[in-house]
């Protein structure tokens, strides 16, 4: 997977986030402050508009500029968290021009570690971690079991989706939704939902490239 595939991933993430802007915002309205879709749409639009994004010549560079731009443009909780996730993943890939599945797995683990280090959320706290953590686990398991690229990425996206859905029954302990206490139960976490969308975009971008 070269820089073009990674760039296509981010472009398609931007598209899916824009298309889900109102849905994500409504999820956030239920248990937060009704801005998650707006925040991410603004951020991804800025990424696509950034000069360095078009010029980034390695997968690592694509992800690093994505993360930096999100940090500069999103704000809120999700800005730094997604920003760090992409930056850590980009740093982990280094300037490998065509990272393989093991490198990608390590990059995803680095992204998760970055999010947890910054946000201190654990699985079950009803955050994006509840989508990202099972997804990275499913991906590395599939890779270890010798799955194909498309198969491993399908496992990744599926686990993220299932993880996001599982947040519905959780009571939030981190982020804005935690202020609602028991009233946070019964709603999907917006950050987990957007993580599932972004990882599905990765699966689709890779599939389209093959």
């Amino acid at each position: 997977m070269d820089a073009e595939v990674f760039r296509a991933w981010i472009v398609s993430s931007a598209r899916t986030i824009e298309a889900s802007r109102d849905h994500l915002t409504q999820l956030d309205a239920a248990i937060g402050d009704a801005d998650h879709g707006i925040n991410l749409a603004r951020g991804f639009a800025a990424v696509l508009g950034a000069q360095e994004f078009g010029k980034a010549s390695s997968p690592g560079a694509v992800l690093t500029v994505t993360g930096s731009t999100l940090i500069s443009k999103v704000g809120g909780a999700s800005g730094p968290l997604y920003g760090v996730a992409f930056r850590r993943a980009g740093k982990a890939l280094g300037d490998d021009a065509d990272p393989g599945l093991h490198a990608l797995s390590a990059a995803l683990d680095a992204a998760l570690a970055g999010v947890q280090q910054l946000g201190a959320a654990r699985e079950g706290d009803k955050t994006m971690v509840d989508a990202l953590a099972p997804a990275t686990r499913a991906f590395s398991k599939a890779v270890a079991e010798g799955a194909s690229r498309d198969g491993a990425l399908a496992a990744l996206a599926e686990a993220a989706e299932a993880g996001a859905a599982a947040t519905i029954s959780m009571q939030a302990l981190k982020g804005r939704a935690s202020y609602l206490g028991p009233r946070s139960v019964g709603h999907e976490d917006p950050g987990a939902a957007s993580t599932a969308l972004i990882l599905a975009a990765l699966r689709d971008a890779a599939r389209a490239a093959s």
């Binding site: 402050d33 801005d35 940090i71 500069s72 809120g76 909780a77 800005g79 202020y179 009233r183």
Partner: protein, 330 residues
Amino acid sequence: MKKLINNPDTVVTDALAGLAAAHPSLAVDAENKVILRAGGPRPGKVGLVSGGGSGHEPLHGGFVGYGMLDAACPGEVFTSPVPDQMLLATKAVNGGAGVLHIVKNYTGDVLNFQMAAELAEDEGIDVVPVVINDDVAVEDSLYTAGRRGTGATVFAEKIAGALAEEGADLAAVAAVAREVNERSRSFGVALSPCTIPAAGKPTFELADTEVELGIGIHGEPGRTRAPMAPASELAAVALDAIGADLPVDGDLLVMVNGMGGTPLIELYALFSEVSQYVRARGGRITRSLVGNYITSLEMQGFSVTVCRLSGALARLWDAPVETPALRWGR
């Protein structure tokens, strides 16, 4: 949704242009979204920077000026600003004595200010963050996001600003801001939701017979929903919650704050109830604010913030201040 704006996407910058036009004492960088005191950094004075989502006006931009903040960073509506803004503000107000970041305890605000502080330290500027978390509606626990920062922010900005104006060093200014936070508690009640311009519909639905108890300042629903009640009972709910955590006796600074859409006549009616409640428990409200100071757009409702004063804090509260939204002594 009916709002006095041109466009949901430009409301923050349009309002900044208005702030700049109305207040020559401010230097507003509308492009980078930073509001500064005009006249550059004060050499030797600790700089005070705060910031947060827009929609809480006059917080924070209305508190920039002599004796209070040196800079404010407004984010999008209800969205914490980004590190770039905070870094720019921090550099612009650094007069060599370091910079205090006054941060309301929300994950977004904390994370973005943290990133900015790291970048500023890289450029050789001493930064100390003080996190405000005064909202008793939220449980304070290591395992959660912790209490929200609300009304005490106004008190901390005023009192730390006064001490900085006197020439105190960064450690002392940070210490007094922390002390204000420790001595202050808040509780909020919503009678109506609000509508984020870019979202276009109300953040929640509330029947004509209901209120939300324990709200924050971002249009989020409260901890519980309860039947609408007279002002005296709503005041008691708020003060019972505060009093469970902090005795409301002795000399007190009390703010009865409107959420944006509640008229002053109602805030004064509520203040009367608050003052009776406090008096019955041995408290003396020796200083007060009644009005819109930390709002949630056009939400109807109020918050009460109580700060237990010491002689030193009272003196700093009384010190001259000259900002768009808080002014006395000059």
